[in-house]
Assembly symmetry: C2
Homo-oligomer: 336 residues x 2
Amino acid sequence: MKNRQWLLERRPQGMISAADFRWVESEVPAPAEGEVLVKNLWLSCDPTQRGWIAGDTYLPAVKLGAVVRSFAVGQVVESRDAKFVKGQLVQGLFGWQDYACVKAGTESAPGRVPEGVPIETAMSALGLTGQTAYFGLLEVGRPQPGETVVVSGAAGATGSVVGQIAKIKGCRAIGIAGGADKCQKLVSEYGFDAAIDYKSEDVGKRLRELCPKGIDVFFDNVGGEILDAALARLARRGRVVLCGAIARYNDSAPAPGPKNYVNLVVQRGRMEGFIILDFMPRAAEAVAALAGWLNDGKIKDAVDVQHGLENAPATLLRLFKGENRGKQLLQIADAQ
Amino acid sequence: MKNRQWLLERRPQGMISAADFRWVESEVPAPAEGEVLVKNLWLSCDPTQRGWIAGDTYLPAVKLGAVVRSFAVGQVVESRDAKFVKGQLVQGLFGWQDYACVKAGTESAPGRVPEGVPIETAMSALGLTGQTAYFGLLEVGRPQPGETVVVSGAAGATGSVVGQIAKIKGCRAIGIAGGADKCQKLVSEYGFDAAIDYKSEDVGKRLRELCPKGIDVFFDNVGGEILDAALARLARRGRVVLCGAIARYNDSAPAPGPKNYVNLVVQRGRMEGFIILDFMPRAAEAVAALAGWLNDGKIKDAVDVQHGLENAPATLLRLFKGENRGKQLLQIADAQ
C-alpha cells in the first residue's frame, strides 16, 4: 500500500503546467496520538489553489517539495482522536495525495461532512463553493428585491449558485460566461433572466441593453476587462463583490487594474473583497439555507467530475481554460 | 456696470488650458420675481470642476457657451425672494462671473454662509472642503482609535483636514504630498505623524517603513501609482476612501486602473467612493464639529488666495500642477 502524492516542484510562471508538480510514491504514514489517517476520496479543484502555490496569500504559500494543498473529502482509515471513528467521512485541506495524516487544531484539521446528500453536493452547493456564493452575495453584496445582480464566471461552481440565490431573493439575475452552451444553460437550467457570452458578444454593449438602470450588485469571479465593463455600468450605490480574478491568476506580471474604478466615485459605489474562510464560524447558517433550497428545488447543483489522482494537475488546469461545467471535482477513490 | 464672465469655449483635451474658456462682458441681469441678484466675492477652485466641463458626471455637464460652473460666495445686491435681503452673504454654484441671478430650487440656489468666521474659513474648513474630509473620513473610512490613516494630496484643502481629524480621533496620520516644503508643513503645522514626499521618495518603500501593520484607512485624493502603492500595503479589512483622482482628471485617455485592487480580496478590503453633495442634509453636523475643533485650535485651516476674475483659468490650473497650498480660492471683489 503506497501513498501517491503530487508535490510542488516549482512555483508557476504564467499558466500552471504539469512541470510545476512532481509525482512521488511514498509509504502510508502512521497516525500519532491525536492524529487521524484519512484516505482521500474526492479532491476539490479551486482557482485559489493557483495563489496557494504561487506565494503567500491569505494562507502561507505551499512550500517547495510539499504536498500540493487541496480541499478534499476522505474517509477515516485509522483514528487516534476520540472525536473520529474509522469509516467516517471527513473534509479538510488534505492535499493531492491518497492518504493524509491530519490533526485537529492544524491547517489540515478534519471537519464533518454534511449528511443526507451526495458527497459531490456536500463539496459544491453545500461546500465552500456554495457558502462562498451565499456569504459573498448576501453579506458583501447585500442585494435588495428588484435589484439587478450580474455575475461573471456564471457557469462556474460559485457563479451558478450566486445567480440562483439572487433569484430567490427577488432580484434580476444576469450571467456572464464563455460559450453559447454555457449561456443557454444559465437561462434554461439555472433560471437566470439573461446571459452574456463574453466570447462572442460585446459585454459592455449587452450590459447597457440588459441593465438599463445599471448594475446594483456585480459579483466578480473573473476580473480583467469584464470587471471594467461592469464598473462602467454600475448603478448609483452599486456594489462590486470581489470573489476572485481568475482571468489574472496565471499572469506572470500584474495586469492593469480596472480603469473604470473611478466610476466608484461618480456612482458612490463600493468594491469589496472577502475570503470565505472568515465566514466559517457561520457555516451552519449557510448550509441550512442552501440545503433547504436544494431540497425545495430552488437551486440546482452544478458538478463536473473527473477521475484519477494522476489527473490532478490537468483537472486544475480545466478551471483556467474555462473547460469546467460547474464545480470541478476529482474523484480518486470510492468509499468503503 | 458690466458682468464679466468666463464661458466654456470647448471641452478640455488633456490638461485644461486658457483656450478652453472665453472671456465676455455682458449686461448685469435683472432679477425676476423669486430671484436674487448676487455679486460674487470669492470663487472656490475645486478639482471636480474639471469633470463638470468635460462631460456629464454626478451633475450634468456645463454646456458649451455657458458660464463655467463654480462654487462661490457672494453678496445679495437685489432680492426678489423674501428669504434674502440686500447685503447678505450667500453661497452656491454661482459660476465664474461678477454677477449671478440665482433662485431657490435650482442648481444655483443660494444658501446661507456660516457666520462668525472669515469667508475664507467658511469656504474651506467649514465649507464643502472640510465637510468632504469630515464625512469621507468618518462615514466612509470609519477609522478606529489606534488605526493608521494615510492621506494622499495631504497638503491640499481636503487632505490637510483629513489628517487633522484622524489625529483628533486617536489615529496615526501619515500624509503623502509633493515637495519637501509641503511635507514639512504636514508634520510641523498640521500635526501629521509623518509625511512622504512622492516627488523624491519611493512611496511603496516608505509606506512599508511607516505602516508596519499596514494601512487601515487610505483617503485617496490622487489615484494613479500612489493608490496602487497604498493598495499593496492595505491592512486586513482596510478601507480605501475614493475622494477623487486628480492625477487622472487631465488624462485624455483613461489611464490603467490600480493593478493591486486584487489585494482587496486577500485583505478583505473595501474601496468606496462618495460625493459630498449626498451629505448636504447633514451639513450642520459637520459644520458644528469642524467649527468646534477650529475654535479649540485642534484643526488649522489651509487657504491659498489668488486675486482677480481674469485669473480664474490660471488659478484652477494651479490645482492640477500641485501649486496650491491648501484650499484654492480666488477673491474677485470686496464685500460692501
